[in-house]
């Protein structure tokens, strides 16, 4: 009854438990989907995402935490909380690494790379993007792959690593070719063609640049929403022609953009300003000296850029203006606009414009001031050149270094593996060795015990046979006495009786004389009986058993060891009353001690005595050998054996040794007579 209840309880608990887990994962899903609800405010959605992470953390399951975190990362992106965005993506990256979730890893790396690119931390951006590229490659996500390649090409372009940038852009294009021509992909095509055209123009491969710009133009025509891109491309194309010195073509392209103003005015209100500035400057370059007309255009452009607060356009306008004034030799105005360009370009970190401005400035001022601007120009261009040089192979370096780090890591992991294998082998070997050693010592112990047992048995048998001998001697003695009584005493008694009897037949002096003779004879018989009685009373064999064995042992052993010996023993000890175990131990102690003397003492004489005193059996073994240090040699096997045997006897042992004088071992054993 109780049992069933218990089982039910346990079962019930189990169900509740799994339910609880299901419930949590459900609630996480619910919270995530709530946070994706676009109909509520971003703050509320962020709150839901945060809650989902909290719940996930409570489960302690990494996969759930990662799921919630990824959603939260998205929310941070929406709320533009980039610090948290970066940190959560770092966390996700680690979690994904731990869970071996490549797709999450790719997303986190891509997010981080994209953020750093946005934040112009090009090195970090490159690091994460190239990682993301690898993950997406392994996931075979072509779209993302081409997008990342495009981003990397962007980075490299910004760092002036044109060749690598171009290579990546071409790789991205190749992937794009395989993808469906969606609006987005077409846009990417346009970006990439534009990128390659820019690179070519930077490398002064103007024909190639024109070629790619025209390809880009083709793309814009295929796009539904390609107008603006087309306009920009036309502008870029015109710029290339201007660079080439083909001013007519450039002007033609620029001017083709003017009538379309209404179509791009809303999206890019300052673009028109840029166009008229470009036209004016192209005209200036082409040798147009109608300065008033040109100035009018420049100022129109300047006003528009001012009106829309477009610093970039304004910077372009002021540069061109300063150059016009320089050509016109109106140095004050040239100085004024060059200064403005300088200021804006500095604030925008647009080095090329800074250089242009400095060049103009140096020409507007004579003497030291002019020289100072020129020096600044030279310094800046030198440093830029240096940076450029240094940057050239930076990404290759980063890649190489990461490769190196990976290789190093691999090497280390391999090393670690070998180390682990080696230590495992070592451990196993040690373990086996340990087993072998313990087994061997166990065997030894067993063997030792066996030997001990055998030795004990031998001694026991020895004692038994000794007992037999004693018994036999006793029996013989009994027989002898019986015979003596029977043959001697009885015979003589009989003779005497018979003679006395026969004397009854005769009387007289002679008979009295005879009788007294026979009575004397009776007296001698009496004496004999007394003697026999005495013989019977003294048990000549009693107690000789054990001491005989010991004496035989000492005799044999000393003969083998070539030692002189003396053996004293006390007849007062009734060995038959001492237990066999004790006798065996005493025997073994004497044997062990003699062995020790033979092995270590280099003695010539030994003296062994067994005595009893106040209910204690005193065994002493004395030699005249070289002695030993009692304190140091406590651990010797011989001494240990003696100690353990004495312990078994409940006795005490005392080693008394003097160097070069000999050793005395004194053993005291309680004289326990067990009846």
């Amino acid at each position: 009854m109780v049992k069933t209840f218990l089982i039910a309880l346990i079962f019930g608990f189990f169900i509740i438990h799994t339910d609880a887990q299901n419930a949590t994962s459900q609630s996480i899903d619910e919270l995530i989907s709530k946070s994706k609800d676009a109909s509520i405010s971003v703050e509320e959605r962020l709150e839901f995402a945060n809650q989902s992470v909290q719940v996930a953390k409570k489960t302690g399951k990494d996969s759930l935490i990662l799921l919630a975190n990824r959603n939260l990362s998205l929310m941070y992106y929406y709320t533009e909380d980039f610090d948290k965005y970066v940190s959560i993506n770092q966390k996700n990256k680690n979690l994904a690494t731990k869970l071996k979730d490549t797709s999450a890893l790719a997303v986190a790396s891509f997010n981080l790379g994209s953020y750093y690119k946005y934040d112009r931390q090009n090195d970090s951006a490159y690091f994460y993007l190239s990682k993301a590229l690898k993950y997406y490659s392994s996931l075979k996500n072509l779209e993302q792959k081409s997008y990342i390649l495009m981003s990397i090409a962007d980075l490299q372009y910004n760092e002036k690593d044109y060749t690598s940038s171009e290579a990546n852009a071409i790789e991205a294009l190749r992937i794009l070719e395989k993808l469906p021509k969606t609006e987005n992909n077409l846009d990417n095509f346009w970006i990439l063609y534009n990128r390659i055209a820019d690179i070519s123009s930077e490398l002064e491969q103007y024909q190639k640049s024109i070629e790619y710009h025209e390809k880009a133009l083709e793309i814009t025509k295929k796009m539904n929403d390609g107008f603006l891109d087309g306009v920009y491309t036309t502008n870029n194309l015109a710029f290339v022609y201007r660079q080439l010195g083909n001013y007519d073509k450039a002007l033609e392209l620029y001017e083709s953009l003017l009538p379309q103003r209404s179509q791009y005015q809303d999206d890019d209100p300052t673009f028109y300003a840029l166009i008229i500035n470009n036209i004016a400057y192209t005209k200036l370059l082409s040798g147009d000296v109608e300065y008033d007309k040109l100035l009018e255009d420049f100022y129109t452009a300047y006003d528009i850029s001012e009106k829309y607060d477009d610093e970039v356009t304004k910077m372009a306008v002021t540069t061109d203006l300063s150059k016009l004034y320089l050509q016109k030799e109106q140095l004050d105005s040239a100085y004024k606009y060059a200064q403005e360009t300088y200021k804006i370009s500095k604030s925008l970190s647009s080095n090329e414009y800074v250089l242009d401005a400095l060049m103009v400035l140096s020409k507007t001022k004579t003497g030291e001031e002019g020289k100072a601007y020129l020096y600044e120009h030279i310094r800046l261009s030198d440093s830029l050149l240096n940076i450029e040089r240094n940057h050239k192979n930076k990404f290759a370096r980063i890649e190489f270094e990461t490769d190196k780090i990976t290789a190093e890591k691999e090497r280390i992991s391999q090393q670690r593996m070998w180390l682990m294998i080696a230590s495992a082998v070592l451990l196993v070997t040690l373990f086996l060795l340990y087993i072998i050693v313990t087994q061997r010592s166990k065997n030894k112990e067993l063997q030792f015990e066996k030997d001990q047992q055998k030795a004990n048995e031998e001694i026991y048998n020895l004692m038994l046979s000794q007992q037999d001998k004693v018994d036999e001697a006793r029996a013989n003695e009994k027989k002898r006495i019986s015979q003596e009584i029977h043959d001697g005493i009885l015979g003589r008694l009989f003779g005497t009786r018979l003679s006395l009897d026969s004397l009854n037949f005769s009387e007289g002096k002679e008979a009295i004389q005879n009788r007294s003779n026979y009575i004397k004879e009776l007296k001698t018989i009496e004496e004999d009986i007394r003697k026999i009685s005495h013989d019977l009373n003294t048990d000549f064999v009693s107690g000789s058993g054990f001491t005989d064995i010991v004496s035989e042992l000492i005799d044999k052993q000393t003969k083998a060891y070539q030692l002189e010996y003396a053996f004293d023993y006390d007849d007062d000890i009734s060995w038959e009353l001492v237990s066999n175990k004790d006798k065996i131990n005493i025997y073994r102690i004497i044997q062990e001690a003699m062995q020790n003397i033979y092995k270590h003492a280099e003695a010539s004489k030994i003296k062994i005595s067994i005595a009893s005193k106040n209910n204690v059996i005193l065994v002493s073994i004395e030699d005249d050998g070289k002695g030993f240090d009692v304190n140091k040699s406590k651990k010797g096997i011989g001494i240990k054996n003696i100690n353990s045997r004495v312990n078994e006897l409940d006795g005490t042992v005392d080693f008394d040794s003097e160097i070069n004088k000999g050793t005395v071992i004194t053993i005291k054993v309680p004289y326990k007579t067990n009846p």
């Binding site: 009989f494 018979l498 005879n514």
Partner: protein, 222 residues
């Protein structure tokens, strides 16, 4: 006048003295006793041999337990009695012994068939005198103890042969079974077999030698 030539053999001179005293004191008027004495097998044998050539003994007194002869051929009064029987066919042989064990009595009666058999322990001088005269005229004379033993074992339906009697006797002496082959001309296994038979015969259930001896003694075999 009746001349009676007598040999007395006993290792105790005082016993011979007792015999002499008794016989001399109780002899008939017409009898002359010529007594030779010997204390050892050797001297006894010598006297026997000599008498067979000169004048044979009429009566020989033999003690059973005697120290053996120097050549070891004669070990007891029994052996002397046997010699006397062969070389002195007319001599009356009287065995006097301390032994009162049934086995020895049997074996002596069987081997020698003596004209007199006396047990020293229950012998008085008058009985000795009576026995002497009885034997001279109408042998044999067995003392009452001897005839009682003989009667008892004749009545007994259990038959125990000579060797088995010896085994019983030796065991009763306290001899160990393993020492028996030294005294009986049989192998150890044969002796063991006989012991088993004996135990069966005396219906000993516990298999102990002690019980066997006790039972044999009760039934008069010892």
């Amino acid at each position: 006048m009746q001349h009676i030539h007598i040999l007395m053999v006993d290792d105790h001179p005082i016993i011979i003295e007792g015999y002499q005293n008794t016989l001399m004191a109780t002899k008939k008027e017409n009898q002359t006793l010529v007594i030779d004495t010997a204390n050892t097998c050797d001297s006894a044998n010598l006297l026997l041999q000599k008498s067979s050539k000169e004048r044979p003994y009429d009566v020989c007194f033999f003690d059973i337990s005697l120290p053996p002869s120097s050549d070891g051929k004669i070990t007891s009064g029994e052996d002397l009695a046997k010699i006397a029987r062969t070389i002195l066919p007319n001599a009356k042989i009287i065995i006097l012994t301390m032994f009162n064990e049934s086995y020895r009595i049997h074996s002596i009666v069987k081997e020698i068939n003596p004209d007199g058999f006396l047990i020293k322990s229950d012998l008085t001088s008058s009985e000795l005198a009576e026995a002497f005269h009885h034997i001279l005229e109408d042998p044999p004379y067995y003392s009452s103890t001897v005839s009682n033993y003989l009667k008892k074992s004749v009545v007994n339906e259990i038959y125990v042969d000579e060797i088995n009697r010896k085994i019983l006797y030796l065991l009763a002496q306290g001899m160990k079974t393993r020492s028996l082959p030294e005294h009986i001309n049989l192998s150890m296994s044969a002796i063991e077999k006989r012991k088993k038979q004996l135990k069966l015969l005396f219906s000993i259930s516990d298999g102990k030698d002690e019980s066997l001896i006790m039972e044999a003694r009760k039934k008069g075999f010892l």
